[in-house]
Symmetry: C2
């Protein structure tokens, strides 16, 4: 079996840490694992397997002996560093939004479009978290019934803003419970006991950039250039799982039973849909787990050929780190590395 | 000016208390105000205006000298007691769901269908909270462009479960922050840092009863028997304002600018829609206020003649107590009491 030299870039962030954890848990066939980060973090240690690894400086030369580099950094860093890593011989699996819409870069959810990996030119993009979580159940439904339109409302966890977002929710919640004023720093407004219908910047059409990712990335992942998507993205005071209320219109009618049958057998999906037993997906139950849980499946009473469901998935894990590691696994499976 | 003898039934609950507060704040022309509740609460006092009033026993005879009774009790109590109060000569404005779909009972949001009050036969129903909050902005949009379909996702505060719901959120949140296990009592599952896509019981079509209220009550309030509605109702860890992400299809196209113009002048609505300044409705800002705040207005990029918006409103206030008091005010204005 191939044994690879691996790097995780941005190893100290929420996603970077989860990537290391996931690589270990899944016994990713690594010969060596480097944790790379900015200068001020060099020398810090980070848990990996049963031990710790020391953080090394992230620079072009660090990639000279790397086969696969998992990037968990911002767009700006990725735009500069990813091509350098590729130049040094690494394949980059990038979690930022820098490369996602580049026609030369495959945008991959392994359950949906792993085959697109075969055209990679060095950089492979990991989609946006809320997009991944929707795509995993949507792909098999689309294959069966022909997806035409998505109307989605999201309920997004604070982990989307990294460790700082997680800390702000805890700290601020305690402040509010203690009758103190909240001091928003990471989010534009108080998030404790509140909702913020604003993630990423506003585009000209008054949708946010986050909302438009579902349209643009969804079309690319599903290879449906004419797919219609309207999304409302909302930050909620939940730690690390995103939830989504989704209505889809399909070419042919999908009954609720048929959808349940399709999703029972769908990779990456856990069907959890027994309302009579109070069983439906909740962000608390999906946190730290791998699957996208789907429930509340019902035929839309307001339109023909329309289906409604609710899904939840861990934002840091399947929404980011796990999906990236799964892309790495597919590279090995396809003999592309 | 008419001076009325008033009763608030279920005066010690979250809605009953808010009704008393709202009657005082709005200087409702009351000659006398009785606070009625169950036997175990008799003799307790409750704030009203600058003083306190003593709780009296709620029974048929208590209504002998009452002109208008505001009911904030459960369906079962209302089903028995409302007809008795009417028999004793009172007009009942009822916040339960017992009478809402009775064809003999007007179901009123004063901004939408106050005229329906003229046909009342003693009982008047206050709609469900999430329905009221949607109807206030939907009515003027519907009048202008012809409402055909609503697809809504709600983000509902714990106050919908009364004082016990409010207390559970505080207590449980502190438990979780302190690393203790949460003990759900009011809600089916932990609500602290979680979401529960389940409010009221499940109907046969797999929608919840809460979700179906938007369909049934919406049609009655807007007098649109063919209106198509699909709703997903979700409980969120927020204290007392409900939020809703709403997509509407209309007979003729409504531009975002036109919708903003209509809503600027709409009664009960505060347009708050300046994303460039991070201004959009949030439940925290609308708590303890009267208006339904509307923002995030945009033309739906996924369908023709479709508009998307986001609104928030205080669940206890406009979602219940204020709406009931406004119905009482309309009765006076129309000379019906």
């Amino acid at each position: 079996m191939t044994e690879l030299n691996i790097a995780v870039v941005g190893a100290l962030g929420a996603v970077g840490r989860e990537m290391l954890k996931t690589l270990a848990q899944r016994r990713f066939p690594a010969k060596t694992v480097k944790a790379l980060d900015i200068a001020e973090n060099v020398g810090k240690t980070i848990p990996f397997n049963d031990g710790n690894i020391s953080v090394e400086l992230c620079c072009k030369d660090a990639f000279s002996d790397v086969d696969v580099a998992f990037f968990a950094v911002g767009d700006g860093v990725s735009r500069k560093l990813a091509p350098e890593a590729v130049e040094m011989g690494a394949i980059v699996i990038d979690n930022s939004s820098a490369w996602r819409m580049d026609p030369e870069v495959p945008l991959i959810v392994p359950e949906c479009n792993a085959e697109d990996l075969r055209n990679h030119k060095g950089i492979i993009a990991n989609p946006n978290c809320s997009t991944i979580i929707a795509m995993v159940p949507l792909k098999p439904l689309s294959d069966s019934a022909g997806l035409k339109r998505i109307v989605a409302s999201t309920y997004q966890a604070v982990s989307g803003a990294g460790i700082a977002g997680l800390d702000e929710l805890s700290l601020q919640t305690r402040e509010v419970l203690d009758g103190k004023a909240a001091h928003p720093e990471v989010f534009a407004h108080q998030i404790a006991f509140n909702l913020i219908p604003h993630i990423d910047y506003f585009e000209e059409n008054a949708y946010t950039h986050e909302e438009m990712k579902m349209t643009r990335e969804g079309r690319k992942i599903l290879n449906l250039p004419n797919l219609m998507v309207s999304c409302t993205c909302v930050r909620v005071p939940v730690y690390r799982s995103h939830s989504e209320a989704i209505t889809i219109e399909t070419e042919r009618k999908l009954t609720a039973d048929e959808a349940r049958h399709i999703l029972t057998n769908a990779p990456g999906v856990k069907l959890y849909d027994d309302p009579g037993k109070n069983e439906y997906p909740m962000p608390l139950d999906t946190s730290n787990g791998d699957d996208i849980w789907v429930g509340r499946i019902r035929e839309d009473i307001s339109a023909d050929n329309s289906l409604v469901f609710w899904c939840c998935g861990d934002q840091i894990r399947k929404g980011a780190a796990l999906n990236a590691v799964q892309i790495g696994e597919k590279l090995i499976e396809f003999g592309l590395v």
